[in-house]
Symmetry: C2
Subunit: 195 residues, 2 copies
């Protein structure tokens, strides 16, 4: 009975705390989203399947008068999570990086356009860094509360994206140094302004 991709995040999210599907989604969006995403369309059906397989238990736990179902790991669920975590299977690693693909093909572009491609990639990763920096305080609190690993992955995301920003900056420099401006002396002083 192989664990699905979504199954892995779900069991992991329930490792210490029973949660609702909604809360799992919140957690994923707020922390693992950058390296492992999940949508409602996957979470709810998978929670049902994990229930059938006996890996999670559901319990009604309304907040105020609002209906709410929290899920917690069964013993089998805890075992399945552990088995996956220690499994020596090769690790899934998939990337789809449009910015880098553009760089790959940038030799068809004029030098200023190629430069813009790299700048756009840098801007993207600078924005990611900013978003990660914004959640850093929460991670510090978590770390104080004994949870060391989630903050570690935040550190990872920050370091990695900063490395990418630096790489882009370096390439931008090399490009503007190596490739001279095209027609730097193209003033239009000869064309009279129409207004």
């Amino acid at each position: 009975m192989e664990l699905t991709n979504v199954g892995k995040v779900i069991l992991g999210s329930l490792r210490a705390t029973p949660r609702s599907g909604y809360e799992i989604k919140q957690l994923v969006d707020g922390s693992t989203r950058f390296f492992w995403a999940a949508s409602y369309g996957q979470i709810y059906p998978e929670l049902a399947r994990l229930g059938v397989q006996g890996l999670v238990e559901r319990e009604s736990a309304p907040t105020g008068g609002r209906r709410r179902t929290v899920h917690s790991l069964t013993e089998a669920g805890r075992r399945a999570l552990h088995d996956w975590l220690v499994s020596p299977e090769p690790l899934t690693m998939e990337v789809r990086d449009e910015g880098l693909l553009k760089v790959f093909f940038a030799d068809t572009l004029a030098s200023d356009e190629a430069l813009a491609v790299v700048r756009a990639k840098r801007a993207h990763h600078e924005a990611v860094v900013a978003r990660l920096e914004a959640v850093e305080p929460y991670a510090a609190a978590e770390r104080a509360g004994g949870q060391a690993f989630p903050p570690l992955t935040l550190e990872y995301g920050l370091g990695l994206n900063r490395w990418i920003v630096a790489w882009c900056a370096d390439v931008e420099e090399r490009l503007s140094a190596g490739l001279p401006e095209r027609q730097p002396r193209q003033e239009r002083a000869d064309v009279p302004s129409t207004r």
Copy 2:
């Protein structure tokens, strides 16, 4: 008429050289696979669609007696490629990193198991580094031949994966320093050996 994901790699692969579907697949597997993959099941149908859209032209170009169809960009195809490359649309960036997900949940594990998780991730990226180093000479040749950007992305892959390896090594150190071996003084001298 929006360009699909596969469409992007295909048009890019044809930017300078007409190629067969088979050759496109070879190229992708040998270079962009680490950040943008594509399978035959996508490439052939998409080549047909791009033909209908007038973005590529097909020409029979058998090698020896073996049938072969090469595709080249039409003017419209060249324009579509250029439009995509300079488009300011937000860049697709998707990652699915199972190693990091395991690290995220590693607080449920015993300290030696958590250490093993990080080591496994490091091993994975060390293998990637080795594979990329193996193709470095080809990239050097390409660079000499005027194509500067594909080798740049190889550099990127190398640098990034080396950074990850270093991060893992650092975390491993911190883990083995900060978390003492569990029961370091559990010698069984009191239990007489049965043989």
